[in-house]
Structure formats: C-alpha cells, structure tokens
C-alpha cells in the first residue's frame, strides 16, 4: 500500500514538473535590467600660472591642493599672474576663494592691494565673480565668490588675472620699491557647504 502511494506521488510530481517546465518556457525572459551608479565627486582646486618669476614665486607642493601661496616682493608685479581653478559643487552650494597675508610683515606705512580681474572667458561653466580691488590683510577675505561647477583652463590668460600694488597707508600713492619686504599671500578655495 505504502509503495503504491509512493508511485502515485512520483507520477503526480512528474506531471507537475512537466507543467511547470512548460510554463517556464512560455515565460520568456527577454529583458535584462542593469543598475548603474554614476558618481560625480565634489572638486575644489586652485593654482597659479605665472611667468613673472622675478617678483612672484609660488609653491603649492607644501600646501593642501586647495590652497596655494604666492610670494610678493619688490613692487608691483607686471601682470603675468593668473589664478586657475577647477570646481564641482553640490546642488545649492558654491565655492569661493579667499586671500590672506600668511607670512611676512606688512610695513607699517603701506598696504598691499590686490586687483582681481573678471574671468578671462576660457574654460567653461559657472565661474566666480571677482571682487575687483582688495586691501590684503592677515585675515582671509573673499576675492572670488559664487563659483559653481566650472574649470578655467590651465595656464596664462586663463581664469582671473591677479595684480599686486604696494600703496602708501592712505591708499593714495603707489610705491614702487617697498624696501625689499617680502610677504606671502595664500589663496584658499573653500565650499559654502
């Protein structure tokens, strides 16, 4: 009796198996889904391009990649320094660049002025807004604001033009030779995030 039950059970299983395999063939799997992950990292990088080594030197190797330092000495630079940057921001945030006198003493009777020109139109994207003129201090001040996702291009005539000027403390007279003083100016790119 038990063996008969087993036989009928196996026949039933066989029949069910047949029906199931038939339904699998009927359900043709003719699509394949693929999950993609697309990641855009946030980026903030700043650097200089300059051929004016006589009066300006820069060295970014000792600093963070989002910070560069420029040595300013012996009067006004002649206009061959350009600040380049690459930036990718999160939605709703922007990057900005600050400048500060990071080492060296400013002579008591004069100021160091920085002139930042508008972006020169190379590269692409939402480039920042330049402050124009700024009296540099040892506190960071924003010189380029509202930087979105953009790149300025790399090298001279790309990004924003920088020019320094030593002036008398009343900010009226340009001083050509500030007695060999050397100060470092550090530029930092940061996020509003």
């Amino acid at each position: 009796m038990g063996s008969r039950n087993k036989i009928s059970a196996s026949i039933l299983l066989f029949i069910f198996g047949f029906i199931l395999s038939g339904s699998v063939f009927a359900q043709r799997r003719n699509t394949a889904k693929m999950n993609l992950t697309c990641n855009i990292p946030a980026i903030a990088l700043v650097d200089f391009a300059s051929s004016d080594l006589r009066t300006v030197t820069y060295n970014s190797s000792l600093l963070d990649p989002n910070q560069v330092e420029q040595l300013v000495s012996d009067g006004a630079t002649d206009g061959t320094t350009w600040i380049n940057y690459s930036s990718i921001v999160r939605n709703g945030t922007t990057n900005y660049i600050t400048a500060e006198v990071s080492s060296g003493e400013l002579p008591g009777d004069m100021t160091l002025n920085l002139y930042v020109s508008p972006d020169n139109g190379e590269g692409a994207g939402s480039k920042g807004t330049a402050c124009g003129q700024m009296v540099l201090t040892s506190y960071p001040q924003i010189i380029i604001s509202n930087i979105g996702s953009c790149f300025t291009g790399r090298g001279l005539n790309r990004g924003h033009h920088l020019r320094y000027e030593w002036r008398s403390i009343d900010n009226e007279n340009v001083i050509e030779k500030p007695h060999g003083n050397i100060v470092s100016v550090t530029y930092t790119i940061s996020s509003t995030e």
């Binding site: 990641n39 855009i40 980026i43 692409a124």
Partner: protein, 188 residues
C-alpha cells in the same frame, strides 16, 4: 513496486492496441509526426550593476575627463521563425543620467568561443542612452552566445560631459542610480 509499474505499463499498452480500430485491417500505418521548434528569446548579463565615477582632476583649471567601463557582456539565446530576425535594444528604465552628462553604450560583436548561429550586427557607433528604446544589435537570427561570464556581446559604456561650454555649469557633485534595460525583441 516493480510489479505495480509493469501492470501499469501493460494495461496502457493494451488499451492503445485495443482502441486502435485499424490494427488488423491494413498492413501499413502512418502517423503524422509534428516536430515543433518553439520560438525562443532569452537574454542575460554577466553583471547586475555597473559603477562609474568621474576621477577628480589633479590640476587646477583642468576639465573632468570622461570615464568608460567595458565590464558588461550580454548573452542571448534566440530561435526565430524563417525569414524573421530579432533586435537587442536599450533604454533608460528609471532614474536619471546626471544633468550635463551623457551616457553612451557601444556594443562589440559577440565573442566566438562558445557561440554559434546568426548573431546579428552591432551598432557601428555609440548609442546615447535615453528613455526611448534604441537598437544595439540587429539582424539576430537563431543563435546562442555561450553562457560564460565573458561570452556574448561586450558593451562599453562611456560617460562624459556632452558639451562643456554649454553644460558644465549644470553639473553637480552627486551620485545617481539610473536603471537601464536591455530587451531582445519579438521576431519580425
């Protein structure tokens, strides 16, 4: 148990002969044998996900470079009625490709190690993935690509910025998870 099977078998055999009225009247007999080959289309991939990330630029002022990924193989089995062919199409099923960027896919001809049949023709230039089905492979007849993880049509994704001067400002740091779907179409 064996007895039970034998009894079942003989009774089935007997019933077949008993209900056959032509058994004793003709010396030859013919049966119509129907051999049926079902139309068949199966598609599978060697991976369930693909991850791509723009590499952060290392030089200030530089633009993001596009990234590519060639890890994906698509495997199919296909049987078609005479005179017809299938296609493999691709489209964006859900999610979004990040604004300012473009995702393309370029198929290469099927590997030959374990494949056979009419494997069709792959698109000659990269296909931009949109929410509308577009042809990747056409003219697929009856064929098989093999089932190994590197059998089939290799797909190269390329993800980049479409037109930097117009769209770079639309980029945002983000991670998105779009889903695309490959379809092997009905024969036509």
């Amino acid at each position: 148990m064996k007895k039970g099977f034998l009894i079942l078998f003989y009774s089935l055999l007997n019933s077949v002969f008993l209900i056959s009225p032509a058994r004793s009247q003709v010396s030859t007999a013919g049966d119509n044998i129907s051999l049926s080959v079902a139309s068949l289309a199966l598609i599978e991939t060697n991976a369930t996900s693909i991850s791509m990330s723009f590499q952060p630029v290392s030089v200030a002022g530089a633009v993001l470079s596009s990234v590519s990924n060639s890890n994906l193989f698509i495997k199919i089995s296909s049987l078609v009625p005479a005179g017809t062919a299938r296609k493999v199409t691709v489209k964006l099923l859900s999610g979004t490709i990040p604004a300012g960027t473009q995702l393309t896919i370029q198929p290469t001809a099927s590997t030959t190690t374990n494949s056979g049949g009419t494997l069709g023709t792959v698109a000659s230039s990269p296909v931009v993935i949109t929410s509308v089905d577009q042809n990747l492979i056409t003219g697929i007849g009856s064929c098989y690509t093999g089932t190994g993880s590197s059998d089939g049509y290799r797909m190269t994704f390329n993800w980049g910025i479409v037109n930097p001067s117009a769209t770079y400002g639309q980029l945002f740091a983000t991670t998105s998870n779009p889903v695309i779907v490959f379809t092997v179409t009905a024969p036509e």
